[in-house]
Symmetry: C2
Subunit: 371 residues, 2 copies
């Protein structure tokens, strides 16, 4: 091109998202065999996929030529039953990520701001940047509702508040009572998004921390609850999440939804996964029994950690350890974890794996610490 093509100016500042290193890349870069690599970086379900879901998808594979049912009646019917809401309260996204994007595009803009915790899910920021909507963050890294409220009162142009409960990538959560007390003080014109991607874990660990979407939206019609099939349901690769809200909120989000945003096989997978609650329960129970091993390990090694309501644990290092270096040393030995340097934290986030994977982590991490 003779001169550089001009694009919309708000894009200039956006850095392209880079996900965790895939296993293939680690194999190539470090010459490690696939079976020796332990990926604890993406909060995937270490138990894999429910065998019932595998079977259902295999039996539907011949339908791939057909466009998905864009009304998503079957999946919505399952979700409506699961959560005690109506289909009008539901919107399905390509991951709950996409519903975050819908919410931001529907309600935020260059003069209508977004409020989030200091360290939280990266996509709130990314989708806000794409439409040049300013993001205000608490100075506290974890969710501090007193600071949320102070910032909200001080900034009348906040239009969307994201509460990531439990919080990714730190792992902390808040009780239902605290959350309700906070939302009661927010204007009904402000959209409060409760991102419950890890709620299956939090509600198992402590029932006081369970946010029930049906009760939430009935109590506060200005809320939107998000859930996902990517974590406890074992479908990270299929990109299915959902938003639950009042009909008017959902109707508006539908206006920015692209048609056919969930694949034919993803609909089959999610519908079947929802019916196999035994698979979910088993994964969640195993998660917390293995979590105890991580807590014990961290205490023994005098490493701080955040009490986690999720399927990962975040280890916080002091000045003697650099999280970027630690993650790099682990990577060379075939263990993939998430370094949180880019979030401004000297910490690593480790997905709770299978017992064997976790043992391998403890063994390798000990070697790294003593090297």
């Amino acid at each position: 091109m003779e001169k550089k093509m001009q694009f919309n100016p708000e894009l200039a500042e956006i850095k392209t998202y880079e996900g965790g290193k895939p296993i293939e890349l680690v194999m190539r870069e470090y010459g490690i065999k696939e079976e020796e690599i332990v990926k604890l970086a993406s909060n995937e379900n270490p138990n894999g996929v429910s065998p019932k879901v595998v079977e259902a998808v295999q039996n539907s594979a011949h339908k791939m030529f057909m466009y998905p049912d864009d009304a998503m009646v079957t999946l919505k019917s399952g979700l409506a039953k699961q959560f005690g809401v109506t289909q009008e309260n539901l919107i399905i996204g390509a991951g709950s990520d996409e519903v975050i994007n819908f919410a931001i595009r529907a309600k935020a803009n260059p003069t209508q701001k977004v409020l989030t915790a200091g360290v939280t899910f990266a996509m709130y920021d990314i989708y806000a940047k794409q439409i040049a909507a300013p993001v205000i963050k608490t100075t506290s890294q974890q969710h501090d509702l007193a600071e949320f409220l102070a910032l909200y009162k001080a900034n009348p142009d906040i239009a969307v508040i994201f509460l990531c409960l439990p919080n990714n990538p730190l792992g902390e959560s808040l009780s239902r009572a605290e959350v309700y007390e906070f939302i009661a003080q927010v204007d009904t014109e402000t959209l409060v998004v409760v991102d419950g991607a890890y709620q299956e874990y939090a509600s198992y660990k402590d029932s006081d921390y369970k946010i029930d979407p049906s009760d939430l939206i009935a109590t506060f019609p200005n809320t939107l609850y998000l859930g996902t099939f990517s974590k406890a349901y074992g479908l990270g690769g299929m990109r299915v999440g959902y938003g639950i809200g009042a009909k008017e909120v959902i109707d508006t989000l539908y206006k920015v939804r692209p048609p056919f945003n969930v694949t034919t096989l993803s609909l089959v997978a999610a519908t079947t996964a929802l019916e196999d609650q035994a698979f979910v329960n088993e994964a969640v129970a195993l998660n917390f029994s293995e979590m105890e091993r991580y807590e014990t390990f961290a205490k023994e090694n005098k490493i701080d950690f955040i009490k986690s309501y999720t399927n990962f644990i975040t280890l916080i290092f002091n000045e003697n350890l650099n999280s970027k270096e630690v993650a790099q040393l682990l990577l060379k030995k075939g263990i993939i974890v998430r370094d949180l340097t880019s979030y401004g934290v000297n910490a690593i986030r480790i997905t709770i794996g299978t017992p064997t994977q976790n043992s391998k982590f403890f063994e390798t991490f000990t070697k790294v610490l003593t090297a």
Copy 2:
């Protein structure tokens, strides 16, 4: 809610997209058995899915818990080889739809307009409306490049031009020579999108109509070529399409791409489909031999049609027939076609089906005509 929540004002005018009626709905509404329904409404491949693709997806079903390879190295490598471009020239979307959305969001805005044919793919309009970018349309329904050029010269604020070649839902196309001559007269600052969703059909029918993406982007670095796996490749349900452009264009589109926008199984399906060109060739050849039956049928019944370079044919009615009524009468007899009333045309679009499906259409349509 005490008062109605306010959302971004540009959303007020957006009507939620409604796709074609799914088979399940027709079964319920008209009490017709599934095996008696013939869906010729969504331009799906009547030959279904390649058996090789079915097998590959079945063998990968256990990987659904893993996030997709977000770099999409394997699929990009296949596409790069297929089209003689590099991976840097490629972006993969959840259908080519999503790449249309990326292009509009990257380059259009409330003061930077979009130019399209009078009757063309609905998503250009829908995505432009979502960001309040004005759309200028030619008065000519089909692509008339003289009118495109006149409108372009008269409106210096046109930033994106969409050429849908062949055009959905009308079916006409343009020769490579005509397209190149037009683009040569467009400023290099304007993005020209050549939507080649049906190019596998057009290039089979007439090699002069083939647009080669590698040559296109080398000749005109301000172009973006779109392709899809939804039509000839038989994967409408898996939502995989691609954009091919100069590195700078692709890099910018990447900034508005959501991460993990294509599922793990969709990547497997598309990669395998690309390797089974025999399946594509067979579907395209069958399409045009069956198309002849439709042309003969239309002539016999004195119904106008547009010469089609696609896998569908558009029948244009005179004042004696109303397309909405005809589509409704066909629906009651189990034949689903697309009425084009909402496009401002008294016409129906019929996907070329299998020989049996097409015979059923001729038989039923004759009954409707003589009723």
